[in-house]
C-alpha cells in the first residue's frame, strides 16, 4: 500500500470540500479567501506533485516550474472542476499534461542545441551529500548508482508503460485512477503495468549481470 491508497478517503473528502469551497469563493469574487483556502490544497498535494514532476522530467528546476504551473492552472480553471472526480486525479492530469508538454518542448530544443555534458541536475554536490547526517558515503554512492540505473531503465520504457508504472507504483494509484489520468482503458493500464515491471526486471537484471561480469573480468585480469 502506497501513496494515494495509504492516504485513504478522508483526504479525498477534504480535498473535494476544499475545492468546492474555493470554487464558491471564486464565484462570489472573494479572491483573498479563495487563495487562502487553496493554500490548504497546495500544501496537501505539493510534495506528491513534486515527486511526479521530478520522475517525469528528471530535472528539479523544470519540475519545480511544472508544479507551479499546474497549481496555478488548477486554481484558475477550478470552475471547470467536476466534484464527482477526485481533485487529486484532476490535478495530476493537469500536471502530467504539463510535464509531457515540457518533454516535447525539450526534445524540440535539443534538436537545435549542442548537448551539454551530463550533470546530475537537481542533485546536490557529492561532497555536500556525503557530509550530511544519516547514511555512510559508501551507501550514498551505492544508492546513487542504483537510482541512476533505475532512471536509465525507466527511460528505456515506452512512454505509456513508464507513465503507468510511475503512477501505479510510485504514486500508488489504482488502475481506475491511472486510466482516468492517462485516458487509457483500465485493462490496458494493467497490461502496461505488467509489461513495464517485466521489462524493468529484465533491464535491471541485464545491467546487474553486466556489472558483475565486468567485475569478474577485472578480477581475472588483475
Amino acid at each position: 500500500m502506497t501513496g494515494a491508497q495509504a492516504a485513504g478517503l478522508p483526504t479525498r473528502e477534504a480535498d473535494s470540500a476544499a475545492a468546492s469551497a474555493v470554487k464558491a469563493l471564486q464565484a462570489e469574487g472573494r479572491h483573498a479567501e479563495a487563495r487562502e483556502r487553496y493554500t490548504e490544497l497546495v500544501t496537501r498535494h505539493q510534495r506528491r506533485a513534486a515527486r511526479i514532476a521530478f520522475h517525469y522530467l528528471r530535472d528539479s528546476a523544470e519540475a519545480d516550474e511544472a508544479v507551479q504551473d499546474a497549481l496555478v492552472k488548477a486554481y484558475s480553471h477550478l470552475s471547470s472542476f467536476r466534484e464527482e472526480l477526485p481533485f487529486e486525479i484532476w490535478f495530476t492530469r493537469i500536471l502530467i499534461n504539463g510535464c509531457l508538454d515540457r518533454i516535447k518542448a525539450r526534445k524540440r530544443r535539443e534538436r537545435w542545441l549542442v548537448p551539454m555534458p551530463e550533470s546530475p541536475s537537481g542533485q546536490r554536490d557529492f561532497a555536500e551529500r556525503i557530509a550530511g547526517p544519516g547514511l555512510s558515503p559508501e551507501d550514498h554512492v551505492l544508492g546513487r548508482e542504483r537510482r541512476q540505473k533505475l532512471a536509465a531503465a525507466l527511460a528505456r520504457l515506452p512512454e505509456r508503460q513508464r507513465s503507468v508504472f510511475m503512477l501505479s507504483h510510485y504514486q500508488g494509484c489504482t488502475s481506475r485512477e491511472v486510466s482516468v489520468v492517462t485516458g487509457l482503458n483500465e485493462s490496458t493500464v494493467r497490461v502496461h503495468l505488467f509489461r513495464a515491471i517485466r521489462r524493468l526486471r529484465t533491464l535491471l537484471a541485464d545491467d546487474a549481470s553486466g556489472v558483475d561480469a565486468g567485475r569478474m573480468k577485472r578480477r581475472v585480469n588483475s
Binding site: R47, R51, V72, R124, G143, R147, I197
Partner: protein, 198 residues
Amino acid sequence: MSGGHLDDGAFAEIWTAAIESRQAAAHPHLAECPQCRSRYAAFVGWLDRIHDDARDEADEAFPPERLAAQQALVLRRLEALERPARVIAFPKFSRPATSTQGHAQRWVAGAAAAGLVIGLAAGQFVDIRDAFAARRRPPSQTAVQTARVNPVTAPVVVSPADTSTVSDEQIFFGDAVQGVRLSSLDDITPRARDDERP
C-alpha cells in the same frame, strides 16, 4: 511458469492483481511452493526498493525549504492573476501615452510621408520652374527675348586650337592673352560684394 515454478512475468501478474484488490497475493502455487514464495518475496522487495529509491531521490531534490519557497511563489502568482494588467510608461515620459494620441500621431506621420512621396513623383514629371517662368512672361516678349542675344547668358567660345598651344606655366601663372580671354567669363560671374550693394 518455467519448470513448474513461477517466473517474473507471473510474479508481476500476481503483484498487479494484489495491488488492485488491495489484498495479499493469492496464488495456489505460491501457497504450495516455498521456493516460489521466497522468490516472490524477493520480487516484492525489489519493487519496494525501487519505490523507496524513487521517492528518496525526488525528496532529496525537493527539501522542505524548496517546497516552502515554491508555495510562496505559487501564492504570489495567484495574487498576480487577480490584478489587472498595467502598462508602465517609459521613464522618459512623465505621463503614459494614450491610444488616441498614438492614433493622431500615426495619421500625421502617414500624411507627411504621403506628401513627400507625391512631391517626389511629381518632381520627376514636371519641371515646376519652367512652368512658372512660362506663365509669368507674355508670349510675344518671350519670342523677342529668345531672338536677342543676351550678354549675360551669351556663351564664351574658346577655340580648341588656342587651348592646345597654352603651356602648363601659362595655366599656372597666367599671361596677358589668357587674361583677356577669360575676362569675359569673369564679367558674367556674380560676386558676393555685388549683392551687398544697395
